[in-house]
């Protein structure tokens, strides 16, 4: 058998894993690996403009395909720049493989140029990580990494590869079974537990199902729809569970939690049984734990046993892959009608919160309504983090799983655009829309270059209110309108209070249309509904590169409804007026 360099081994292993694209940024210790990729047309290498964006792009690729996304960076700052991306992916259980160059093994520990203890730093933001000491371990490490990243509860795996490992030579062998003695994920649900769950479900009068990100990862959407229809169970979603059940299903209540719909939160609070399907009872989803669903027993189906009884006390846990569990459970369940409960749900749905319309500037609902009228069910939505993210969750009509890319757990501003790039690369036939804010977009704005060069027709919808809107909303509600460091327009807010005279401030900072031009992308500014519709038409017709729609929106619109942090899901603020 002929010998390959470590770098060639990496490339061969990636090919065997079916990797078609790598997001990367080169540097000294990674040059040998990039060099080997230069000879491998099977793997497309996308040069991002920042390592963090490379990880987010790999993340976006993984969330839309279910396959691990791969990124490749150099040692030191290249590696440390991936930390936010890895934490984002790992928090939301996204399979990402991050290959890092490292200084040669002989130089580790001497504070060499661009040396960083990246495995040490990555411990708390990865599912697992490796430092490859010898070329003999390289192929097995890569194979194990792919297995770990995309089985059980998926997550991020980092592989740190010293330069001597990538230039040394060794025989390449990839024909072996993965066998990691400390890692044997549960797949099947325990039958006795499933039977206990069935009993509770059949006895329940006011059941509510909660679908989380795990439902989408597991591909359990069909089984969930069969389950809720069979037993007449209303269903709510966490942020990352959106799309699992179509928005127009009679059972669907929308998202629950801090910015959940009124009907979802009320239904949870009134229920006598919560069936959590791949969700982990995040604090933003439960509100105050001691008053969460006070009369409900809880069934928790999850692949991660550590998620069970971590935050809420669970009556019946079922550990395993959700799709498998539901397949095992469905034949055991009798058909059931919950007419009384469903009629209560219908009443709950009639309660409305404030929806702002017909202001001087466009409002969130007006933007989302026009967008909803232009998209099809295959459209992939990526968001950043903040008000626009919650408006997307509340108002966008999600139809299918894997059509929402959003940083739910970590809440990473700057995630949306690079994730959209990763998604668009592999979903060439689908429109990809990044809904963002003027704050978030600037956190990875440099990726316009990547999108232009790769001719990716990502549509960037900036809901531009000149504020870090979500923080401003909290300052409005809980800090006496003291808008400390949240205005993105005003230059001298330290010295005087903002008098609302925005004309004295910068008009655009930056002018996103000019930014688009500077990157040879298209940009369009929108200030009214007519322009909005026109802009979306142009954007969806355009397939040659990124298209920015800079929408000047109402400056101080708040996201309603809202359950304040630490409050019970009952304590819903609906805004100034109830319409």
């Amino acid at each position: 058998m002929s010998k390959l360099t470590g770098a060639q081994i990496i490339v061969e292993a990636l090919k065997r894993e079916g990797v078609e694209v790598i997001f990367g940024y080169p540097g000294g210790q990674a040059i040998p690996i990039f060099d080997a990729l230069y000879d491998s047309p099977e793997i497309r290498v996308i040069l991002t403009r920042h390592e963090q964006a490379a990880v987010h792009a790999a993340d976006g690729y993984a969330r839309t395909t279910g396959k691990p996304g791969v990124c490749l960076v150099t040692s030191g700052p290249g590696a440390t720049n991936t930390i936010t991306g890895l934490a984002t992916a790992n928090f939301d259980s996204v399979p990402v493989i991050c290959l890092c160059g490292q200084v040669p093994t002989t130089m580790i520990g001497i504070d060499a140029f661009q040396e960083a203890d990246i495995t040490g730093m990555a411990n708390s933001v990865t599912k697992h990580n490796y430092l490859v000491h010898k070329i003999e371990e390289l192929a097995e490490t890569i194979k194990n990494s792919f297995f770990i990243a995309n089985t059980g509860r998926p997550g991020a795996v980092l592989i740190d590869i010293p330069k001597d490992v990538s230039v040394n030579k060794y025989e390449f062998n990839y024909d072996f079974e993965v066998n990691i003695r400390g890692y044997k994920p549960h797949i099947e649900g325990h039958l006795n537990q499933i039977k206990k769950a069935v009993q509770l479900i059949e006895a329940a009068e006011r059941p509510v199902a909660i679908v989380g990100g795990g439902a989408i990862i597991s591909g359990a959407s069909d089984e969930i729809i069969e389950f809720i229809s069979k037993c007449d169970i209303p269903v709510t979603a966490t942020l990352n569970g959106l799309g699992c059940v179509a928005f127009d299903s009679p059972y669907f209540l929308g998202m629950h939690g801090m910015h959940g719909t009124i009907q979802a939160n009320k239904a949870i609070q009134q229920s006598d049984l919560i069936i959590a399907l791949g969700s982990r009872f995040d604090d933003r989803a439960t509100g105050k734990l001691s008053t969460f669903a006070p009369n409900a027993k809880i069934i928790h189906m999850d692949i991660d046993s550590a998620s069970i009884s971590k935050n809420v006390e669970v009556k019946v846990p079922v550990v395993g892959d959700l799709k498998n569990i539901l397949k095992q459970m469905l034949p055991l369940l009798n058909q059931k009608k919950n007419e009384k409960w469903m009629s209560i749900i219908t009443e709950l749905k009639a309660v409305k919160h404030e929806i702002l319309r017909d202001q001087k500037r466009l409002t969130s609902i007006e933007v989302m309504e026009v967008l909803n009228s232009k998209v099809d069910s295959n459209t992939i939505i990526a968001t950043d983090v903040g008000q626009h993210q919650m408006w997307t969750a509340l108002y966008y009509n999600f139809m299918k799983p894997r059509t929402l890319l959003t940083s739910g757990g970590l809440g990473t501003m700057g995630y949306g655009f690079p994730a959209a790039i990763g998604a668009q690369l592999v979903n060439t036939d689908k429109p990809v829309v990044c809904i963002t804010g003027d704050g978030s977009f600037q956190m990875n704005i440099q990726e316009l270059a990547t999108a232009v060069i790769e001719r990716l027709p990502v549509i960037i919808v900036i809901m531009n209110n000149g504020y870090l809107g979500m923080v401003r909303q909290w300052q409005d509600l809980f800090f006496d309108k003291r808008y400390s460091s949240t205005c993105l327009m005003n230059c001298d807010h330290r010295d005087k209070e903002c008098n609302g005279d925005y004309n004295s401030c910068m008009k655009f900072i930056p002018d996103f249309v000019k930014v688009a031009e500077a990157y040879s992308a298209k940009g369009f500014r929108v200030t009214n509904k007519l322009q909005l519709s026109e802009a979306f038409d142009k954007a969806f017709a355009n397939r040659s590169g990124p298209f920015i729609i800079d929408i000047i929106t109402e400056r101080e619109e708040n996201v309603w409804p809202m359950v304040p942090a630490g409050a019970s899901l009952d304590e819903i603020m609906r805004g100034g007026t109830v319409s």
């Binding site: 411990n123 708390s124 697992h128 430092l131 044997k184 046993s305 009884s309 846990p317």
Partner: protein
């Protein structure tokens, strides 16, 4: 309450850091930690004790169990275990305290392993509670330096059937 966790881990680079990270990253505190070789060259055994409550211990076990390099983890049953800890302590030697120190050491079946003009070094092994009690007794004689290993512990029965898959 004190909980004793026994871990079999891969004898590899970075494993101790990963185990420690799980504890510190979630705001828990390790009371004692002992790491050493096990019956196999490619694995190590860790005994970690926590002063904690049941809910937190359950979370710690689950989170540690998720570590790929942790092969097996179990809680050692306080009633069905053999436990040993080693103490080394240097105590000031004075004319009037020699006899009583020797007597206490004898009662606790310890040894005086080194003597200088000014000090004794005493070695005691036993369950942690015994060592606590020895320290309590010897405190008034003037402890110069004290070092405890933290307990080693083995269950009285073979736990080998208790593999990772079965512990939830």
């Amino acid at each position: 309450m004190r909980y004793i966790l026994s871990l079999i881990v891969e004898n590899k680079h970075g494993v101790l850091a990963k185990v420690a990270q799980v504890v510190t990253g979630r705001g828990y505190n390790i009371s004692t930690l002992t790491v050493g070789p096990s019956e196999r060259a490619d694995t190590s055994r860790m005994i970690i004790t926590f002063d904690s409550d049941e809910k937190i211990i359950e979370q710690i076990i689950k989170q540690m169990n998720k570590l790929v390099d942790v092969i097996k983890i179990f809680l050692i049953d306080d009633n069905e275990k053999v436990e040993r800890e080693l103490l080394l302590v240097r105590i000031s030697r004075k004319k009037d305290n020699e006899e009583s120190i020797e007597r206490i050491v004898k009662i606790f079946r310890g040894k005086i392993v080194d003597v200088t003009m000014k000090s004794f070094v005493i070695e005691i092994t036993g369950a942690s509670r015994k060592i606590d009690s020895f320290v309590e007794n010897i405190k008034s004689y003037g402890i110069q330096d004290l070092m405890r290993t933290g307990p080693l512990a083995l269950p009285r029965f073979d736990m080998r059937t208790n593999t990772k898959e079965q512990i939830k």
